[in-house]
Amino acid sequence: MGSVLALAGAGRQNWPFSSDTPHPQWDTPLPHWDTPPRWERRDGRLPNPGSFHALHHSCKDVFPQQIEGVKMIVNKTLSSFFKASHTFHLSAVSPSQYRFHVEHRQSDSHGKDTDSPVLIGEMDSSGSLNAHSLLHLSERIRAKAVFQTQQAQFMTWQFETEYRGNDFTAAVTMANPDVLRESVILVAHFLQSVCSGLVLGGELVYHRGRHEEGGILTLAGQYSGPNWVATLNAGKGGAHASYYHRANKQIQVGVEFEASTRTQETTASFGYQMELPEANMVFRGMVNSRCIIGGVLEKSLSPLPATLLMGAFVNHRGDKLQVGLGINVG
């Protein structure tokens, strides 16, 4: 659902054995917008529900991200606003590439109100560009523009405006407006905190081309307890339900169920995350109803500012394996 808008936040939409590479940097939300967690209340009033794309994030963060080949990421923090990173990716299934990523984002956060825009740019060794820009037009209104090109051709150009009220969020997105081809995709999101822990909302997608037009309505609801969150999206395009549970300080568990009418298939997944800060490691594992299992181990090599990632994904039904190794420096 909403595949064009996948790049707006949820880079994990591409499940194992797809050819697209996810962009982990897009997943981190701006800290002062999405904290504190939804089940905490401020001053007895209902908290702001956050953005629509972030509804399933707490569950999706538990699942391991597919890694393939050898990847080395060198992060450099140039100042409190500027960060640059170089990524070298050697891969067996797709051409190897070098990627340069730079962001202008205020990194010291939580209490401060940030008026500075967030600009993120990423350039590929084959010439593909990925650019995000986020502007705070006022304290409650923010505007976002996303451009994505594949070498010299523009794949996505998307503009979004979001208004955050006291206990609701409303957003309108226009994706790929094309005057010459008379095609556009408009998406409207609305989320309202109904009572403590319960958030209800909906998404309306309207797409129009030269020969066809159509609309899809999806309703969403999220109920959170002290250490769990249950979310449901249901509409004509399919259903997506997820449950996240924090068992204790070390173990988090997520269960996800996805059904799509477009591809006529359903998938159920179970994932867990285990953190052992004394051993400097985080392990994420996943089991799928498509007979895919995967595990990713992240170990921080403690005196050095480096993290080692090792992961493997096995598809038992097709007897395929994807192994990945990664090093993040800085």
Binding site: A279, F283, G285, I293, L297, M310, A312, V314
Partner: protein
Amino acid sequence: MAGIEELSPAAGPVETRPPEGEIDEDEELDETILERLWGLTEMFPDTLRSAAEVTASGSVTVAKKLYSFSRAALWVGTTSFMILVLPVVFETERLQLEQQQLQQQRQILLGPNAGMSGGMPGLMPPAPVKM
């Protein structure tokens, strides 16, 4: 019919298998032992024979399926355990061993009273106060 007539002289000595006279004759028919044993089953009624055949073939099929299923299940189980559980087990074991080693080192360094981390080093036994 000629075989029946010949039975009477052969019936003098008590024999457990009266048709053996026929069998001596039937050696000319070149039956193997298996075929003879199979021929014995023809004495059972047809329903029993068909039921036994169905049961036997069914159990052979079940055994084959069970064998292949257990092979596949063992493989899937082992590789899934290897990928999902083993790294965590390795890391926790390593952590435990490291902590044990540290504890041992501390014991050697600070004397046997300093057992756990955070224990006060060098406790002297209380001297007798009463004089």
